[in-house]
Symmetry: C2
């Protein structure tokens, strides 16, 4: 059974003097927004600074001055971005950023990144880049090219783990596994013990958690099935320093680190990435919106030989 | 400008007591066969044992008892296989093997491997495997599952280079470059000096060469453009021992080695692969048709940071 865990991601910053996305927008709006990409809201938590919606495909976070939405599977997130632009108006929007990670099953997606930004281009003048090699892990990032300049303290981190260990995959695909057991397995108490949590265990497996504390957020999405396993962790707290913990828990064959505005990325990765992982690709670019984006892909060298994976000829997933 | 260099490949072995593909089949047949996947024959060479056709998308080799066809781009090779089966009949066919390498632009392909073998399954009962990880380089191999047992001396080697050096890419995309200059660059005199050659320089760039000597063959296909550069070398002579030469010439960021029936693959790779390349994935499987298939993917670890690649928003290749 395959599921495309890799997310599309959009971040939209608004002019806080013209609109507050928390005070001025009712929850119905967000229900409609996520429906535009065929996702549904499962539950939500909130504090004075942030609303966090857990979605059938990943997460939506809303602050007074911005929103962040991540959707996986075969959702076409760009339609939700289009809805937001049409409903709110570009005059209240300061910056649109749209990102797509490489997919396991690119040919099964309803659109390519190029298709998506062609649609965005009807509303937003922007630039786009690819971080990472085409034949390996990579991220496409489109951003509005206007006078907006990001605050240097506005930081984001992404940790993306591929091909987690057989042990982790088996644990996370255990029938009847409870949210509390997954929280323990991921050591959330240790990592974000003082955050408010909202999580969901999917049937037959898969796990999502949103965590917030003031303006801080952290979200984890787990696609645990062998062969296409994927775990994404995104936060505005520094994940680089926590990477060794994640690697101990998940032991992926490969992982990516991505940061916005971590100016110490080189030193931090040198300090915190275990030496048994090898850097395959490292890319850095300062965007015209003043975000410094750094991307690094690491792999675990293989010594022995493994068996080939049998392909299910009679299976239903021929498109995959 | 993007081009999908990664090939689909089919090998079909016939019962030599019932038919000779050289003596009993006219060239018109091969013209029709390659047209089934939207390729054309550009030129050909032959000796008593082998006919080699250079195609608009890669190559076709025909021996008395077998054919080998490789096609790249957006060809749907499985339609040529279907044509062969329908015209020749399964009663004269001993073994069908169908292979697909991971593509740079999987979402731009007219079909997936699963689609292809679903079609093949109408004619051939078989098994299929994936060699390599889904999120990295991998090869899918389908083979007929019958009483056929491959000769242990029937060996094949594939060397697949991705992201060749900027220097090699620039040289091979030089306007007006002549076949003789590419032969020199690839050191064909040194590698296969006593083979009969047939080569073609594509416009604006790209290069294919077929080489034969008795039953031996070697074919090289070069997609030189930066970002999606790809060079494939396939032969029944031992490429593992030549890998260091290829790596010196092409300096790819990543490459794959694949062998059929090289029982010394482990030792040969340990001996001949330069130590600056790191093994990312190693897979070995003996198929029920008695081919031992070994696959290894190597990468060149990156120390420094590179710039992100600008994405051509206004470009025509949005599907890519």
């Amino acid at each position: 059974m395959f599921f495309e865990g890799s997310e599309k991601k959009a971040e939209i910053l608004v002019n806080a003097s013209k609109i507050s996305l928390i005070d001025d927008i009712a929850d119905d709006f967000w229900t409609n927004l996520v429906q535009c990409c065929n996702a549904q809201i499962l539950s939500s938590i909130r504090n004075d600074d942030c609303k966090a919606f857990l979605l059938s495909e990943s997460s939506l976070f809303v602050w007074h001055d911005r929103l962040l939405i991540l959707t996986c599977g075969n959702t076409r997130l760009v339609h939700s971005v289009e809805f937001f632009i049409q409903q709110i108006g570009m005059d209240k929007i300061q910056q649109v950023i749209y990102q797509r990670k490489n997919e396991y099953f690119a040919h099964a997606q309803p659109s390519s990144f190029g298709d998506d930004i062609k649609l965005l281009g009807q509303y937003v003048q922007g630039k786009a880049y690819r971080f990472g090699e085409l034949d390996s892990h990579h991220n496409y990032i489109f951003h509005q090219d206007n006078s907006f300049q990001a605050d240097s303290l506005d930081k984001t981190y992404e940790f993306l783990a591929y091909q987690i260990s057989q042990q982790a995959s088996e644990k996370l695909t255990t029938v009847g596994l409870k949210a509390e057991e997954i929280r323990q397995f991921l050591q959330l108490d240790k990592l974000i013990g003082d955050f408010m949590l909202d999580d969901f265990v999917f049937d037959p497996f898969g796990y999502s958690v949103n965590a917030i504390k003031g303006k801080d957020y952290l979200t984890i999405h787990v696609t645990p099935q062998a062969n296409s396993s994927y775990v994404s962790i995104e936060s505005n707290i520094n994940l680089t320093e926590l990477t060794a913990d994640f690697l101990t828990i998940l032991a992926p064959k490969s992982f990516d680190l991505l940061s916005f505005n971590d100016f110490d990325f080189v030193n931090l990765t040198d300090e915190f990435i275990p030496k048994d992982y090898v850097s395959k690709s490292r890319v850095s670019e300062r965007l015209s919106n003043n975000y410094l984006v750094c991307f690094a892909n690491y792999i675990l060298p293989q010594q022995g030989f493994s068996e080939a994976k049998a392909f299910d000829i009679a299976g239903e997933n021929h498109a995959l």
